[in-house]
């Protein structure tokens, strides 16, 4: 019996460590897969992708709402001096600009019902600045939602979306 105690302790230690590691890394892996899937679907890096209206025939993400206009932008601020300029143009109904980090956390959301919203996104560990949000991770996804429950409203949302922006800019630090 004694000779099994060592392997049993090793198995328990490995199980505990693997259990904790799987839970710790699961959100990051899930988000990385989602980012890859978005890239394959044509969601651009540092640019908002004009969406199609969600229908049974165009859906590509589970549980999408057919009543919303979704515009997505992937970002990667890994290079020194990079930051993003974000703008959500005015829309008379509900709209929001939400930011998700590489661990799937919705780390910021800005509501813009009836008004335009502009903000800068800074890389991790940046000093706080007025009019800017610091991303917890270098990579992530930005999502603009607009209430657009019929074809006419969706077309109007798409027109409003022409005023949206998700652009990378290089600061002086990087340029010098």
């Amino acid at each position: 019996m004694k000779r099994w105690i060592g392997p049993l302790i090793v198995a328990l230690a490995c199980a505990t460590a693997a259990h904790a590691a799987a839970l710790h890394f699961a959100p990051t892996l899930i988000m990385a897969r989602a980012m890859d899937a978005l890239a394959q679907r044509g969601v651009a890096l540092h640019s908002l992708t004009a969406p199609q209206r969600i229908t049974p025939q165009t859906q590509s993400v589970v549980r999408s709402s057919p009543d919303l206009y979704y515009a997505l932008c992937r970002y990667d601020l890994s290079e020194p001096g990079m930051q993003l300029t974000l703008r959500m143009a005015a829309w008379p109904d509900y709209q929001s600009l939400s930011l998700f980090d590489a661990q799937t956390d919705n780390f910021a959301v800005l509501r813009g019902t009836g008004k335009a919203v502009a903000v800068r996104l800074l890389p991790p560990d940046s000093a706080a600045q007025e009019g800017a949000i610091v991303s917890p991770t270098a990579k992530g996804v930005i999502l603009i939602r607009r209430l657009a429950p019929d074809a006419a409203r969706f077309a109007a949302a798409a027109t409003a979306g022409e005023g949206d922006a998700c652009r990378v800019v290089l600061t002086e630090t990087a340029a010098s």
Binding site: A11, A15, A26, I30, T55, D67, F100, T104, L147
Partner: protein
């Protein structure tokens, strides 16, 4: 040599058990139902207010990453899902249901959308995927009524098509929810009731 093999076996079995138990407890195993989440139940409608937030416990974090990817935090929107009617039976394409609320829903805007068991919109061209605060005209009390069926009713207003849906579920989205809903959802929310009318022409 045999001793080394035993320890290697212990490592492999331990790691497999550790990863497997973590995935199972967080609802991440392949085939796990997207309904297998939510610690909140209001009259059969399930929700998880941790969605979109940085929840403290790692199981919730992993579960939310899987089932609530790119979902908004609760200050912007909350999501409730049901897969059963008022008799507790599974929602099915071959049945007709009446859906109604007794009073206004506590949010700036809301929608009820039908999804298949795979969490997809049903493959049909009926253009009746949801009903929402824009499409219905509620009574002064906030009450409204709609129909869920595989074929259009005579009056197709407030109709959700279940054609090609198989067994399905409904998601209630509440945008800009009231503070009281977030504080006391069980006391504040009167979610839509889904009453069976008939199944293949027979009373439900």
């Amino acid at each position: 040599m045999r001793r080394v093999a035993v320890y290697l076996f212990a490592v492999v079995v331990g790691c497999a058990l550790g990863v497997g138990s973590a995935l199972a407890m967080a609802g991440l195993l392949p085939g796990a139902s997207t309904m297998a989440f939510g610690d909140l139940n209001v009259e059969g409608w399930h929700s998880d207010f941790a969605i979109g937030s940085k929840a403290a416990d790692p199981y919730t974090r992993a579960r939310v990453a899987r089932h609530g990817l790119l979902a908004l935090a609760k200050s912007e929107a909350v999501y409730f899902t049901t897969s059963t009617d008022t008799n507790g039976r599974a929602l099915r394409e071959d049945c007709t249901y009446r859906i109604n609320t007794g009073r206004a829903l506590p949010a700036q805007w809301w929608s009820v959308t039908l999804y298949t068991a795979d969490s997809l919109l049903p493959l049909n061209n009926d253009k009746a995927l949801s009903i929402n605060a824009t499409s219905v005209e509620p009574e002064p009390s906030g009450r409204w009524e709609g129909l869920i069926s595989p074929t259009p009713p005579a009056n197709a207003e407030n109709w959700i098509s279940s054609r090609n849906a198989g067994n399905f579920n409904l998601t209630l989205r509440l945008y800009v929810p009231s503070e009281s809903l977030l504080m006391a959802p069980g006391d504040t929310l009167a979610p839509p009731a889904v009453h069976p009318v008939n199944c293949r022409g027979k009373p439900g």
